[in-house]
């Protein structure tokens, strides 16, 4: 038991592991790049969608059930499918990651919007505010906490799943898991897994702390 731990410790702390194109620093950077870009794209799609459904009330069925559908989608299958259709590029990876992140963002944005007190919306309309003014000046600020939670959850999920880039030859921390599987090098596999977990947990802590600070600031 200590053998595996000891080797893992050695791997994580030796300078050689961190440098070079297969080094931890590089793979970490790749992994973060995939995750952030995918989440950004997912937000660009999911936020407007969630806001629209929440504001108009139409398409609520979609917002509620999109999560189930997204959860049912097998990422391996999706990656392979897009790869076969479009060739060897990062597209399959991004499609799968965005497909994973959009439901979380839409659902939470919608939940945030529906949590807004209808009386407040009525009051705003009573004051003469037009539709989009109500949306951006009243609903959105009030829904912000849940929207931010959605973004955070989506990012964490994406970070945990970005290992799929390795399925189609690309980088990121998944490379350690995949290569370790092929070489039956459990230290590498464990290293990759631990690094992904650490990145995900760290981001989660950072973002939730940020969220708390921001909400305290706004409340004051």
């Amino acid at each position: 038991m200590f053998e595996l731990f000891k080797n893992l410790g050695t791997w994580l702390t030796s300078g050689g592991s961190w440098s070079g194109s297969d080094g931890i620093a590089h793979r970490l950077a790749e992994h973060l790049q995939y995750s952030l870009l995918a989440t950004l794209v997912a937000a660009a799609i999911g936020l407007p969608l969630g806001l629209l459904i929440g504001h108009t009330g139409k398409g609520a069925f979609l917002a509620i059930n999109l999560s189930s559908f997204g959860r049912a989608l097998p990422t391996v299958g999706l990656v392979v499918l897009v790869f076969l259709a479009g060739g060897l590029s990062m597209l399959p990876v991004y499609v799968a990651l965005v497909a994973l992140a959009v439901p979380a963002i839409v659902t939470n944005t919608y939940a945030g919007m529906t949590a807004v007190d209808p009386d407040v919306k009525d009051a705003a309309r009573g004051q003469g505010m037009r539709g989009h003014q109500v949306l951006f000046q009243v609903e959105l600020p009030l829904a912000l906490p849940l929207i931010m939670t959605g973004l955070r959850l989506a990012l964490i999920q994406v970070v945990a799943t970005a290992t799929i880039a390795a399925y189609v030859s690309f980088g990121g921390l998944g490379r350690y898991v995949f290569d370790g599987l092929a070489q039956r090098d459990l230290v590498q596999v464990l290293g990759g897994a631990v690094l992904v977990a650490v990145v995900a947990v760290t981001l989660d802590l950072l973002l939730s702390t940020l969220q708390r600070l921001l909400s305290r600031h706004r409340a004051a």
């Binding site: 097998p74 391996v76 998944g174 897994a193 992904v196 977990a197 947990v201």
Partner: protein, 213 residues
């Protein structure tokens, strides 16, 4: 990219057995997840200090990539269905634990006190009052865990199992989209049907909520 419909016609037997194998893996994982998470949730709910610990552990476990867990289990249980199920159970356990704790939390304190005032012992309260009231949230967890499990089974194709996931590696190796498309469609279908059945089950199990509506 086109579908070879004749391939589908020729392989209905294989597809059926893969689907059943896939379902079996997912459901077994949910079952064991429930078995372990229910008592664990009671502990987490009742013993404050352990609650943060248990939920924290499960949150971290959830971020470990599923393929890594499968591979790390290979020395434990080999290239077998057991490995797949253990790996899947880690994830169903996390989801079910979270939801069951949340469900138990949602039971109003007043209701528990009323039961206690009537002289009901803690275990009976748990079984006849708390769990039934927590059922909607627990069932939501079962739904999430089941759908997620059905999706995750395919990752096990990288360790020689995978149910419908084997269609993905097969199609990938031969540059053949048809099995991949069929695999994706069947997986989603399986999940949607399972989810619908669970909704129906929840409806049956919670008659008091029906009467209110």
């Amino acid at each position: 990219m086109s579908i070879d419909w004749s391939w589908i016609g020729d392989h209905t037997d294989d597809l059926t057995s893969l689907t059943l194998s896939h379902l079996q893996a997912a459901l077994t994982a949910v079952f064991f997840g429930l078995l372990i998470s229910l008592p664990l949730a009671v502990v987490a709910h009742r013993i404050r200090p352990l609650r943060g610990f248990l939920l924290g552990v499960s949150n971290v476990l959830f971020t470990i990539p599923s393929i890594a867990i499968f591979v790390l289990l290979l020395p434990v249980s080999g290239l077998t269905r057991t490995t797949t199920v253990i790996g899947l159970t880690v994830y169903t356990l996390v989801v079910l634990l979270r939801n069951t704790v949340e469900g138990l939390d949602s039971v109003p304190a007043r209701t528990k006190e009323a039961a206690r005032a009537m002289g009901t012992r803690p275990l009976r309260t748990l079984l006849t009052v708390e769990f039934p009231l927590a059922l909607p949230v627990i069932m939501a967890g079962v739904r999430i865990a089941t759908v997620m499990s059905i999706s995750l089974v395919s990752v096990a194709t990288y360790i020689g199992d995978g149910g419908l996931g084997q269609l993905f590696t097969d199609g990938f190796q031969r540059d053949f989209p048809t099995p991949v498309i069929v695999g994706v469609v069947l997986t989603i279908l399986l999940a949607v049907v399972a989810d619908a059945l669970l909704v129906a089950l929840q409806y049956v199990l919670t008659p008091w909520r029906r009467r209110r509506a």
